[in-house]
């Protein structure tokens, strides 16, 4: 059984690497088209997660429910630390987001592949160890000692990778189906301090303003050969970044005036859609959590 798990994990990893390669390949392809579509995909990863969340079919579910389900899944994943639980979570979350939420499989995988480099490097550091004796099933002589690995360490690494991917899947349930503004409103309901929520709301909105300003400045710098080599691009980047800060600091006062003109008295109020918690969602969710616990109990 464990052999099959390791094999399927390797298969999943291959798919993820393939997705990343294709994404990178596409990026280079578009560069060849003289940045014809550059405006839309410049910070693709960033805009697209929020965009995907807004277009999800399960956006109308109660956000508190989704956030609790997602956080609970993550906590179960890391607390139970069981490979079967991880696999069930990966499949269940993929089903929820892709099948029920109507997200394209490719988009789901490319978000899952974002932390891939970090996962691979850190798993690599865990499965490999050094020693002054040639032990383990594979070892490599380095002059001063041996790099070695054992079957148990490799298995541990693969299981850890599955756990991490499962936890990220749990996080994806939240980020790919719930827009950030709704996540913030959930935090507000959880009685996070008022000023903190106000700061988060404002930062969330300013991020998009700044990105827009940056995209415009970068486009104009690029059309003046501002990124033609490494040294020039460093200067341009520094100039653009500082100019962005100057412009936005200048606007900060104007933003405050605008808010005050609309009767801002220390609290930002937003129109929130009232989304009912449905019993038909809570029951399956409870069953799912119980199943995970049962699975963990049976395979302990």
């Amino acid at each position: 059984m464990e052999k099959w798990i390791v094999l399927s994990a390797m298969f999943l990893l291959t798919i993820l690497v393939f997705v990343v390669k294709r994404r990178n390949g596409r990026r280079h392809g578009e560069r060849a088209h003289e940045h014809r579509h550059s405006f839309g995909h410049k910070h693709g990863g960033l805009i697209s997660i929020d965009y995907l969340a807004y277009s999800s079919k399960i956006r109308h579910w109660n956000p508190t429910f989704k956030v609790i389900l997602s956080v609970l899944t993550i906590i179960l994943c890391i607390a139970l630390n069981n490979v079967y639980v991880s696999i069930v979570v990966i499949l269940a979350m993929a089903y929820l987001v892709i099948k029920v939420g109507g997200l394209a499989l490719h988009d789901y995988l490319s978000v899952l592949a974002i932390p891939l480099a970090f996962i691979l490097i850190s798993i690599f550091a865990i499965v490999i160890d050094f020693s002054d004796q040639p032990i383990g099933i594979y070892h490599l002589y380095l002059g001063f000692g041996y790099l070695y690995t054992t079957m148990a360490m490799l298995k541990y690494g693969v299981f850890l990778m599955l756990k991490v991917i499962a936890a990220i899947s749990g996080l994806q349930l939240m980020i790919l189906t719930t827009p950030s503004s709704e996540v913030i409103s959930v935090m507000k309901k959880a009685h996070v301090p008022k000023d903190f929520i106000a700061l988060m709301n404002m930062i969330y909105r300013y991020i998009f303003i700044l990105l827009d300003v940056f995209a415009k400045m970068k486009n104009s710098a690029e059309s003046r050969l501002g990124y033609r080599d490494f040294k020039t691009s460093c200067y341009t980047f520094g100039g653009v970044a500082s100019n962005m800060l100057v412009l936005s600091l200048k606007k900060a006062g104007a933003y405050y005036d605008a808010m005050e003109a609309r009767c801002y008295d220390g609290e930002l109020m937003f129109l929130e859609e009232d989304k009912k918690v449905e019993i038909r969602l809570i029951v399956p969710a409870a069953v799912y959590v119980l199943c995970l616990l049962l699975l963990w109990y049976l395979t302990r």
Binding site: L46, P115, S131, L171, I203, F237, S242
Partner: protein
């Protein structure tokens, strides 16, 4: 195979493993699910007093000048955007700054702890970098340890009358390196090596991340200096407002 061949082969294999497997050089966020629950809680608790200190300092600022809330928010958004932008890199890989060193120099370490915390939440929600359970550990390495070291180095260089730009470079560079070291130690504490314990494991993590993090730290230092130079040239009034340039 001769012994020298073996050595050459080992070196080449290692090189390929290091350089080939790192297409993305990002600031080191520990991703969701990587840390066992015990360490998630420990790092959260360690971060808490710093966050509380930052929170009270922000509260005080807001009580005195309610207007500064938009400046704080802009500063947070700026740190987020700076850390999500692709910066120029030599190898053609895709790398990002941490931005917290710059933030600490411009806005002060106490407010950066809270702003960095918010930025980390948004990085998890909007970029899928980092995560919710690892928020405590990431906050400690990126929003607390890094900025405090940066500001310390910056102040130290000011006191020692080192050239200002050298000081800023060192502050951003060493702050970045320190973040990377703290993250490696955090990882090593959670996953100690079977033979050598935590220390050996820390060395392993430091080694595997070095090829991405060392160039990144140097570029980050250079860019921070360039940004500060440009700001000083064009925006002395704004810098006075946020307290970077003392009036007089």
């Amino acid at each position: 195979m001769k012994k020298s061949h073996k050595i050459i082969l080992s070196i080449i294999t290692l090189g390929v493993l290091f350089w080939g497997s790192t297409p993305l050089a990002q600031a080191m966020h520990i991703m969701e699910g990587y840390l066992p629950p015990k360490y998630c809680i420990i790092w959260g608790v360690i971060s808490l007093p710093f966050l509380a200190a930052g929170w009270f300092s922000i509260k005080k600022t807001l009580a005195e000048h309610r207007r500064s809330i938009t400046i704080l928010a802009i500063a947070g958004a700026f740190i987020f955007v700076i850390s999500s932008l692709k910066i120029p890199s030599v190898t053609g890989s895709c790398s990002h700054m941490t931005g917290t060193g710059l933030g600490a120099i411009l806005f002060g370490a106490s407010s950066v702890s809270i702003l960095g915390f918010i930025v980390l939440i948004f990085q998890a929600i909007l970029l899928a970098h980092g995560g919710l359970t690892t928020l405590g550990a990431n906050t400690f390495s990126m929003a607390i340890a890094g900025p405090i070291v940066s500001i310390g180095i910056y102040k130290l260089c000011q006191a020692l009358k080192v050239n200002k730009y050298v000081g800023i470079f060192l502050a951003a560079f060493i702050g970045d390196l320190f973040t990377y070291c703290v993250t490696s130690v955090q990882l090593a504490l959670a996953y100690p090596s079977a033979q050598g314990g935590v220390a050996a494991s820390a060395i392993k993590f430091l080694t595997v991340f070095a090829p991405t993090q060392l160039p990144l730290a140097i570029v980050e230092g250079l860019l921070t200096v360039l940004i500060i130079i440009a700001l000083e040239t064009y925006a002395t009034t704004e810098l006075t407002d946020i307290g970077f340039v003392k009036e007089g």
